[in-house]
C-alpha cells in the first residue's frame, strides 16, 4: 500500500512539474493545445462529480459550460470587467442555472435523468441561438479581448498565450482541488453511496434529492468556470458551446479515462485531444478512429485507461509484496 501511495505521489508531481515547466519552452501551438486540454479536463472533472461519483449521467452538461462562457463574453464585451470579477459573475450565473435546471432534473434518475438534462440542454441551446439581442444568435459574442488580471497591487495582461495558459492552469488546478476535496469529504461518501444504492441511502436518513441537487449545482458551477475560460481562450462565445455534441464530450472523456478514478476524466481529455490532433493531420473523419478506440475500451476496459492502469499497478505491487 505504501508503495502504491509513493508511486501515486511521484506521478502527480511529475504531471504538475510538466504542466508548469514544459510550456515555458514550448511553441505557441503546443501551448494553445494544452490550454484547451486543461479547460476540458476541468469540464470533464465537473461532469464526473455527477457521473462517476453520484451515478447520474447528464447529457446536458454543456448548458453550464455555455452559461459560464456567455456570461464571461457578455461581461467583458459590454461592461469591460477585469478578469476576476468577470470570472466570479460567470461562475455564479452557471451555478444559478444549474440550481434551477438541477431542481427539476434530479427528481428522476437513470435514463429519465439523462433525458431531462438532454431536454433542458436543448432548451438552453435554442434560447441562446434565438435570443439575438443578448447572445448574438448563431454568430455568438465576439470581438472582445482577454481582460486584464487585476491583482490590486499589479495588473497583468493575459494577452499572450503563455500568460493565458498559466492563468488557466492555476484556475483549473484550484477547481480540480476543490472537486477533489468534495469527493473525499463526508458529502463525497454520501454521493458514492447514492451511486451504489440510492434507496439504501434514503433508508439511513438522507434526503437524496437534496444531495443530488447540491452535487448538480456544484458540477454546473465548475463547468461554468471551464466555460468562462474557454470563451476567453476562443475569443468568442458561440452556440456550439451549448450544443448537445458539447455535452457528449465530457461523457466520452470520462469513459475514456475512467470515471471511478478522480483524475480519469482529465486523462480522458488529454487522450481525446491528442487523438484528435494527430488523426486530423491525416484525415478529417477522426471520429471514426475515436469510435474505434472507444468501443474496445468500453467492452474490455470499462474502468477506462487510468482505472485499468491503476488496477494493473496494484496487482503488480501486490504480487511483488507476496514474493518478498
Amino acid at each position: 500500500m505504501e508503495k502504491g501511495k509513493s508511486l501515486k505521489l511521484a506521478a502527480l508531481l511529475a504531471g504538475a512539474l510538466f504542466l508548469f515547466i514544459f510550456p515555458h519552452f514550448a511553441g505557441v501551438f503546443a501551448v494553445l493545445l494544452l490550454t484547451e486540454i486543461l479547460i476540458f479536463a476541468l469540464f470533464a472533472l465537473s461532469f464526473n462529480l455527477l457521473f462517476g461519483y453520484t451515478g447520474l449521467l447528464s447529457f446536458g452538461h454543456a448548458a453550464f459550460f455555455g452559461l459560464g462562457g456567455y456570461a464571461m463574453a457578455f461581461m467583458v464585451q459590454h461592461f469591460h470587467l477585469s478578469m476576476l470579477p468577470a470570472l466570479a459573475i460567470s461562475t455564479i450565473v452557471a451555478a444559478l442555472g444549474a440550481a434551477i435546471i438541477g431542481f427539476f432534473s434530479i427528481r428522476r434518475d437513470e435514463i429519465y435523468f439523462a433525458m431531462l438534462t438532454l431536454g433542458f440542454g436543448m432548451m438552453i441551446f435554442t434560447l441562446v441561438h434565438q435570443w439575438r439581442s443578448l447572445t448574438g444568435g448563431s454568430d455568438g459574442i465576439t470581438g472582445f479581448e482577454v481582460p486584464v488580471l487585476d491583482l490590486l497591487v499589479k495588473k497583468l495582461s493575459l494577452f499572450s498565450p503563455w500568460a493565458y495558459y498559466y492563468f488557466s492552469l492555476v484556475v483549473c488546478l484550484l477547481g480540480a482541488i476543490l472537486l477533489w476535496r468534495l469527493t473525499l469529504s463526508p458529502f463525497g461518501l454520501i454521493l458514492r453511496s447514492m451511486r451504489e444504492n440510492p434507496e439504501r441511502v434514503s433508508f439511513v436518513g438522507i434526503d437524496i434529492k437534496l444531495y443530488r441537487w447540491i452535487a448538480f449545482t456544484a458540477a454546473g458551477l465548475m463547468a461554468g468556470v471551464a466555460g468562462a475560460l474557454f470563451a476567453l481562450y476562443d475569443r468568442m462565445a458561440s452556440p456550439s458551446m451549448v450544443h448537445w455534441t458539447m455535452s457528449a464530450k465530457p461523457v466520452l472523456m470520462a469513459i475514456l479515462g475512467g470515471p471511478r478514478v478522480f483524475l480519469g476524466p482529465a486523462l480522458g481529455a488529454l487522450i481525446f485531444y491528442l487523438l484528435e490532433h494527430f488523426i486530423t493531420q491525416y484525415t478529417q473523419s477522426w471520429m471514426i478512429f475515436l469510435g474505434a478506440i472507444l468501443v474496445p475500451i468500453v467492452i474490455f476496459f470499462p474502468q477506462g485507461v487510468l482505472g485499468t492502469l491503476i488496477a494493473w499497478a496494484q496487482r503488480l505491487i501486490r504480487r511483488e509484496g507476496h514474493g518478498e
Binding site: L178, R181, L182, L184, S185, P186, F187, G188, L189, I190, R192, S193, R195, E196, N197, E199, R200, V201, S202, F203, V204, G205, I206, D207, I208, Y211, I214, R260
Partner: protein, 254 residues
C-alpha cells in the same frame, strides 16, 4: 401499558389496484422485545415493511412510532426518527469498502453529510464508532475490503451494520437469513440475540425458518393473505388452531 408500545399500527391497508396486499392490519410492537412477523410467501410481510418505513404510502390506516404519527412520511424522515430496516435481498453499497458502508450511515446519523471540504479521514470519532460496530459484528478484519468481495453471510451482516449505525430505537429485519446455509443462519441468529442483549434495541423480524422464530421471538405476528391472522406468544401461536390450519400445517413442531 401504553408506554411500552414503540410501534403502533392501526387499520393499515395497502392496495395495488384491486389487489389488497394488506387489509386492515392492527398491531402493537412492544419496546425492548423481539417480535417476529411470519406468514407464507405473498402474505404481505415485505409490503408491511415498505408501508411502515415510508417506501409506499398506505391506502388507509395510521402508523405511530414512539407517539409520533409517521404515516406517509418519506423514508429518510422515518429513519431519522430511529426506525431502521434491512432488506430481504442484500442491499449494501457494493463498490465501497465495508468501513465506508458503515460510515455512510454514521455520517447521516451525525448529520455530517453537508460537510463539503473536510476530509473524511479527519473525522476520528466517526471512524472509531464504525470500528466498534464492525467489531461487534465480527467484521473488523474486513473493514478495508470492497463490500462486494465479502462472503454472502458477511454481506448480510454489513446490511445489519448499516442499520445499526443509524442509532435506531427499532430495527426491522426483513428475512435476515434468506438464502443462508444452516451455519450462516445460526451465526446470524446468535448475532441478533447478541445485539439485542447488548443494545436493547427493539427488533421486528420476518423469517421463514420456524426454528429460528420460536427460538428468539418474544411475540409472534402471523400474516395471511394480507390480514393479521393471529398474534401472541410463541406458545399461543404454536397452539392456535387457525394458524395451524391456515399456514403452518404440521411443520409447527419443527
Amino acid at each position: 401499558m401504553e408506554n411500552d408500545v414503540i410501534l403502533s399500527v392501526k387499520g393499515l391497508s395497502k392496495s395495488f389496484g384491486k389487489f389488497y396486499a394488506l387489509r386492515d392490519v392492527s398491531v402493537d410492537v412492544k419496546k425492548g422485545e423481539i417480535t417476529a412477523l411470519i406468514g407464507p410467501n405473498g402474505a404481505g410481510k415485505t409490503t408491511f415493511y415498505n408501508v411502515i418505513t415510508g417506501k409506499y404510502r398506505p391506502t388507509t390506516g395510521r402508523v405511530v412510532f414512539e407517539g409520533r404519527d409517521i404515516t406517509s412520511l418519506p423514508a429518510h424522515k422515518v429513519a431519522r426518527l430511529g426506525l431502521c430496516r434491512s432488506f430481504q435481498i442484500t442491499n449494501i453499497f457494493q463498490e465501497n469498502t465495508v468501513e465506508e458502508n458503515i460510515l455512510a450511515s454514521l455520517v447521516a446519523y451525525h448529520r455530517k453529510g453537508l460537510s463539503l471540504f473536510k476530509g473524511l479521514g479527519s473525522y476520528r470519532a466517526l471512524r472509531e464508532e464504525a470500528h466498534r460496530i464492525l467489531e461487534m459484528l465480527g467484521l473488523a478484519a474486513h473493514a478495508q475490503e470492497v463490500a462486494k468481495n465479502l462472503a454472502y453471510g458477511d454481506k448480510r451482516l454489513v446490511e445489519i451494520g448499516i442499520a445499526l449505525a443509524s442509532h435506531p430505537k427499532m430495527i426491522m429485519l426483513d428475512e435476515p437469513t434468506a438464502g443462508m446455509t444452516p451455519e450462516e443462519t445460526e451465526r446470524m441468529v446468535k448475532m441478533v440475540q447478541k445485539l439485542f442483549q447488548k443494545t436493547g434495541i427493539t427488533f421486528l423480524i420476518t423469517e421463514h425458518d420456524m426454528k429460528v422464530v420460536f427460538s428468539i421471538a418474544h411475540k409472534i405476528l402471523v400474516l395471511h393473505q394480507g390480514c393479521l391472522l393471529a398474534q401472541g406468544s410463541p406458545q399461543e401461536i404454536r397452539n392456535n388452531p387457525r394458524v395451524r390450519e391456515a399456514y403452518l400445517g404440521g411443520s409447527l413442531d419443527a
